[in-house]
Symmetry: C3
Subunit: 276 residues, 3 copies
């Protein structure tokens, strides 16, 4: 793969657990798979995100690797999104560190020079949906139980502007406006209809389909494809780069409000009860 786009900082260099994502590179095809294996729900903890960014950076810098498929090793869930425990009852410094990592993940994914394909084999709310939205192509398993969407509003929080920009670039302004305000979680069929995903397949066909789509995208000359991708996404990427620290401060101020902390605690209680 080509060198990463300039202006993006290096991967965070803090110690982290290194077993939440399985990375496999098929050197014959130049296609890597990043398989999320952080049960129970592949939540995007600081550890997960750090491992994700470092893994992605390694692939980006590996000349043998031209594309990545993202999928889950946990049944029924692609990723449940940002780990709420990272946003609840922690210090301002922790919130800031966490948010910078989330920004970093998005900047690397949305700006990746590699072809990125989401093979969505389970539900994918909030940050899980964001990972799919940053990809070049989204294939979802046509299971009526699997849902996808940016449901932040349901939790009493607000998707940041760059989640919104990514969503608008994918589904247009009107679908984004309605779906974000309602915090909608869409069935796979509805996600296809709205353009949130590009294609549905039976679960048994998912890996085969992802490989076929990847081959189609890799048939193009890398250089022309990368410049075209950058042309399409640069305005939105630049917007976060220009407002990154401001966005961190907004997040920290918002999330540390007592009213928001209370909502999140209630939401976590609800999740715990559901489980037991």
């Amino acid at each position: 793969a080509a060198p990463p786009p300039p202006g993006l900082p290096l991967a965070l260099c803090r110690p982290f657990s290194n077993n939440k994502i399985l990375v496999e590179l098929d050197e014959s095809s130049g296609v890597a798979t990043m398989k999320f294996k952080s049960p129970p729900v592949n939540s995007l903890s600081l550890d997960f995100i750090t491992e994700f960014c470092i893994g992605l950076e390694k692939l980006e810098n590996n000349r043998e690797c031209r594309g990545v498929i993202f999928t889950s090793a946990v049944p029924n869930i692609f990723s449940s999104g940002l780990d709420i425990t990272e946003m609840c009852g922690k210090s301002m410094e922790h919130y800031a560190e966490f948010w910078r990592a989330v920004q970093e993940m998005w900047l690397r994914l949305y700006g990746s020079n590699m072809v990125t394909v989401a093979a969505v084999n389970g539900s994918s709310p909030a940050g899980g949906c964001l990972i799919a939205l940053t990809c070049d192509y989204r294939i979802m398993v046509e299971n009526p139980k699997f849902i996808i969407g940016l449901n932040e509003a349901q939790l009493g929080i607000v998707a940041p502007f760059w989640f919104k920009d990514t969503f608008v670039n994918t589904v247009g302004h009107r679908v984004a406006e309605r779906s974000l305000q309602l915090g909608s979680l869409h069935s796979a069929a509805e996600a296809l209809r709205l353009g949130i995903v590009d294609e549905l397949v039976p679960e048994v066909k998912l890996q085969e389909k992802a490989a076929a789509v990847m081959a189609q995208w890799l048939a193009l000359p890398d250089h022309a494809r990368q410049l075209t991708k950058s042309m399409m996404r640069k305005a939105v990427l630049d917007r976060l780069v220009a407002h990154r620290e401001e966005d961190v401060q907004n997040f920290v101020n918002f999330i540390s409000k007592e009213s928001i902390q209370k909502s999140l605690r209630m939401y976590m209680e609800m999740l715990k009860k559901k489980k037991s």
Copy 2:
């Protein structure tokens, strides 16, 4: 409802007739209805708009009110749009005052913190369509006689950029470009297909459906929903706020041209003949 967004001026404080809109607030649900009852066609005269803005501001400042449904008490017409008599044969000062009121109406509607639902129970050309477009959701009666669209070009005039921005945010650039240039008035079925409205219902189901949609939107926490709505609409709202006086001057200069005045007089003659 939350306080109105900063930067919007207070409602105009001129004397006006106060019987063109019926406002009812159901305190149990927190939902108000603004019912247009200005026969024959609910045209948006300066009086109507002033009453509309003051009514809306009162609801916005009323903590008991979280949502508004807009509908018509006049059969077969939602609103015929801006009152042409306000734009024809009057003074420059009058044109300016009228246009500031139209801007004010749009700024309050498109930027409202409340959930806004248009229950479009009749035809809705020009400014009538604009009111619908500013809402969070549009339900239209599936009557083949009812039409909707921004048909300004048919009259020889041009929709202002903020009508256009609202339209583009709803239906996308291409549909807006074609529909605005042709000054199209679309049937309800076509309006649904193009995304001008979100749903069609039989007339007898309209109020029930509007209440159900409102309940769905009110199920979300107000604060998160309002911040999300603002994030989606801020760029377009800010644009008019930044160019408000310039836009007034453009309107006054354009509308007071003799060629435009002549078109409007001819159009009014045609309407009068149609009636008799």
Copy 3:
């Protein structure tokens, strides 16, 4: 037609062959036809583009002419796009001159005050597709062999930002992102589904349909229609005007790279073999 938009330079004043485009003006309807007759594939050579710009300027300045239909006199091809021989093995000065002509063509077409209708009666890759995209309305012959799209990436080159802007304004961000990265050439049926063209007709009905569509657009008052068109397209037109020389330099630097020259030579070899 009204005078051309200010800020656009006069047509290039170099000698050129004057037989690549047949221009006919029907004075009764005010509708001109520009028929491309530059076999074998109506490629957009510097000569073709110069003739095109001068022809278009004459119509724009002719008060009898209110609309133009673009179509091809060469069977099975609308236009094959930019002439690769103009971009291969020539001097930097030539590349710059050629690119300024391409910009000029786009500025005049996308900003035309006349109603413009593309009657696409053959395949229309790259620059051929661009001509269609700049029009107010696109009708394509429903022949399964005819394809259309901005396939630059297939050749290892990148569509300039103003091709991209025109495409996004027509089909939205997501369709453009995918189609441009894959350099897709779409069948007529798919082009209709994606919004690249507005309508399909059997070949025998094409001219009749184009005339009917033109009559529909000409039914609107010119002044209101032109101001509306300008409002929709101004942002994108202004962007190239503001970055015109920078865009020329980018093109010249890119196209004169040895790697790009090599791709283009290979592509031309392939085309020659195909022919023989």
